[in-house]
Amino acid sequence: MTRRPTQRLCGPRTRPFPFSSFGRTTALVASTRRQSSSLKRHRNNILESPGKGYTKKALKDKNIQPESSSEEDDEETIQADFAFFDPRPDDFHGVKILLQSFLDNKQWDLSGFVDLILGQTTVGTVIKIEDAEDDTPFSVVTALNLGRYKKHRCITEIKDFLIKVSQKDVSRDLSMLLEDGAHNVGLLVSQRVVNLPPQLLPPLYDALFNEVSWATEDEPTEELRKSFRFKSYLIATKIYKHKNADQHKKTSKGLSEDPIIYIKPEDEIFQKISSWSFTFKLHTEQVAAQELRNYKLTGLVMAVEADKIPIFRRELHSLIDGP
């Protein structure tokens, strides 16, 4: 069986977390060299599909210019190979930083939540730079069954938070998903650094949904197999909403700016196919870039039926990979 041709992906070079001068200095000064992590093979016949464990996704001859900081050379382009890994306990600190603002600025059991994600190795992916000295995760994606983990404090806190911020008309649907239907609901967690190349998204989500379907067959116990037969996915994410979005609805003038800017392109597709969604106000401090001065960072929660996922995968491919 021939392997799919791999290509080189050029992307921003690994930078130690946090992306600060202090972080860079300490990384330069630190003398330790970490072992390169071993890649886990999820299935034996993995060579046929761009599945788990080892995927090089790239774009030939296309250099993505990273934002240059004042300390580095202008317009430095860097080669980087991204690889997909199963979640591991070592990824704790990196994944925790990625999920720092998952529940706005509420103080909750984030460490327990990260442990939950890293404990589920069958479904879930972490993207890192291949063979880098420090294995900082650039992205994490997973689906957690709300019923399976309902006893964990972090899941209870998530449920309470979502119910608290929900509006009256969707509260009923939300509580139905969270209480009675919890064992069929997967909480879709997807977080990444803002400058992760979008070309990685289709294989990332393909890997996630493939793993979910493989888990329904491969898990050792019937209970675990059943826990991955999700009927719907619950997604909590963030978008930029125009400050005057509601006012503009009343006037007939056309908007010169978009009412909503999606930070993650897949959120737009998710919202289109969602059964319901609602937005809520965020309390975290927002860094206002010049282009975003008319926008407010807003939380968005949506529920997507599991049978709409193939539509999502198709649309994501056509959005990113182009016609």
Binding site: T26, V29, A30, S31, F92, N105, W108
Partner: protein, 245 residues
């Protein structure tokens, strides 16, 4: 006794607070839980002061001090300087210094007798440290890292340093500082010791990710369990002595 806490879901509490034997500085913002944890532990003994430095919340990393004084970077505003001078006891010398390396908390680690500093610190700054803080100053590195203030935390009774410090370095530092030292981690394997914990002679605070093993290492090297027992005896003694005739 060591207490675990968080600042806004962040376990790097040594970034947002500064603890010495004579005072405690705490960043503004976050929930009141952070401030009230310090208050309940410390308010009976030392002033707990809410402040910002240079308009930022990373007060622990920007200033350096001990029971005799407090050094602030040149970026500290006049109001902040005045606020600190007002809130702290008069014996404590609060000084703003002109030093290029303005994150003094990362460059200077000190207790009441000795200070370790960044190798590139100005000569004038070194003299000021010796003057204001009343300490002997040594330029050192820790496990090859020049940011000594970040990679170690020590009090008058013990110290915790970067986990990759060699035995020879440990012995050398221990001789300089005249306290027992241990190489260890905080916050579940984080090497940035001073960001993850703050300590003085009788108490310590660590990020909530700190494991039970790390906590017991901290309590033993800083002799916090013994400190507590002697405090209990002192308290009892005060109540036992009834009248002097």
């Amino acid at each position: 006794m060591a207490t675990r806490l968080q600042f806004e879901n962040n376990c790097e509490i040594g970034v947002f607070s500064k603890l010495t034997n004579a005072y405690c500085l705490v960043a503004i913002g976050g929930s009141e839980n952070f401030y009230s944890t310090f208050e309940s532990e410390l308010a009976d003994h030392i002033p707990v002061v809410k402040t910002s430095i240079a308009g930022s919340r990373i007060v622990g990393r920007l200033c350096a001090g001990n029971k005799k004084g407090l050094l602030l970077p040149h970026t500290t505003t006049d109001q902040e300087l005045q606020h600190l001078r007002n809130s702290l006891p008069d014996e404590i010398v609060v000084q703003r210094i002109e030093e290029r390396l303005s994150a003094l908390g990362n460059c200077i680690a000190c207790n009441d007798h000795v200070a370790l500093t960044h190798t590139d610190l100005d000569r004038e700054t070194e003299e000021l440290i010796a003057d204001v803080l009343g300490v002997e100053v040594f330029r050192q590195t820790i496990a090859g890292n020049i940011l000594v203030g970040s990679y170690c935390a020590f009090s008058n009774r013990g110290g915790l340093v970067h986990p990759h410090t060699s035995i020879e370095d440990l012995d050398e530092l221990s001789t300089l500082l005249q306290v027992p030292l241990v190489a260890g981690t905080v916050n579940r394997g984080s090497e940035v010791i001073a960001a993850g914990m703050i300590v003085n002679d009788w108490t310590a605070f660590c990020g909530s990710d700190t494991t039970a093993t790390e906590l017991s290492v901290i309590e033993s090297v800083f002799k916090l369990r013994e400190a507590q027992s002697s405090e209990i005896v002192d308290e009892m003694r005060k109540s036992l002595i009834d009248t002097y005739v």
